[in-house]
Amino acid sequence: MKSFSGKALRWEWRDGVVELTLDRAPANEIGTAMLADLEQFAAAIKSLEADTSACIISSAQKRGFSAGADLRELYHGAIALPGKERNAGVRDFVERSHAVANAIDAASFVTIAAVHGVCFGGGLELALTCDVIVADKMARFAFPELRLGLIPGFGGIPRLKRDLGNAFVRDLLLTGRSVNATRAQAVGLVAQLAGEGEALKVARATAAQIAKFDATTRAIAKKFLKPIPYAELKQEIEIFCELFARPAVLAALKKFVESTDAMPYLP
């Protein structure tokens, strides 16, 4: 499928490069609509691989790349179900998210996340499936999940550990704080910094460079350079589902959802 337009994202293939644009107001929250569209993309990857050298994932939403999981949808969906069904529903969502993340991570073409604004939680996990992160200097990155009594559930911890030094990983996860793009580049999370509003332009230039090289060599090199930690990813699912079953998590979600702030931030 060379082009697609869904409720939460669209993509377009042109001259060997796929541009996937996340576009769901207000901040590309990852809920059922975004996941369904991402699954469409994951399913299309095999057919795109033959004549695609790179895929750029960017956002059309002003607030940023993605603020992460749609916590409002998650909360309202969870409280509508009794315990066992709720937990099964969450597991299903998490497993589907992992399948999408693994498919993007394993794509033979080079994936580039062009990030501006907030890149939090599930949004950062999506960016981490990419080979290269280009960030606008005003971008911010965070894994705030501990603030909700959870851990990142879409493959973030194994991928972050794959890419970065553990000291920074511990700081980021255990404080739940956000870091700016400059710091993110200093620790190796962000490969290239761009001026404000210029991440997509820089990503396109990067894609153009990548397109010059032999496709088979690129695919083999990528697989060698970036092993996918399948065992740890499965472990993350189990830990996430176990944590989600705790009453403290629903209480934290309730507090977030009931906040009167238009875009509430976690404690």
């Binding site: 200097k137 005003m138 404080t175 870091v179 700016n180 238009a262 875009m263 404690p267």
Partner: protein, 80 residues
């Protein structure tokens, strides 16, 4: 090294510029959420600008509960 008053003024100036309001309309004791009509994510945008401007890192949990420019400047000052 900057004094706290200088830092506070720079914070106010940056906020005014970023959110496109006249500098003279902002005071150090103003609640920036109410005065600028911004939410938490927009406050993070300001935080990024402040970090870049002052060359510091300021964990967002350190500014939790902070809503006026002066107190924000104090947090920044402690990182200079």
């Amino acid at each position: 090294m900057r004094t706290l008053d200088q830092t506070t003024q720079e914070v106010v100036d940056l906020a005014a510029k970023h959110f496109n309001v006249a500098v003279g309309t902002l005071a150090p004791s103003d609640d920036f959420f109410k005065k600028l009509g911004i939410d938490s994510l927009q406050a993070l945008e300001l935080l990024s600008r402040l970090e870049n401007h002052f060359g510091i890192e300021l964990p967002d949990y350190e500014v939790q509960g902070v809503s006026d420019f002066r107190t924000l400047a104090e947090r920044i000052q402690s990182r200079l």
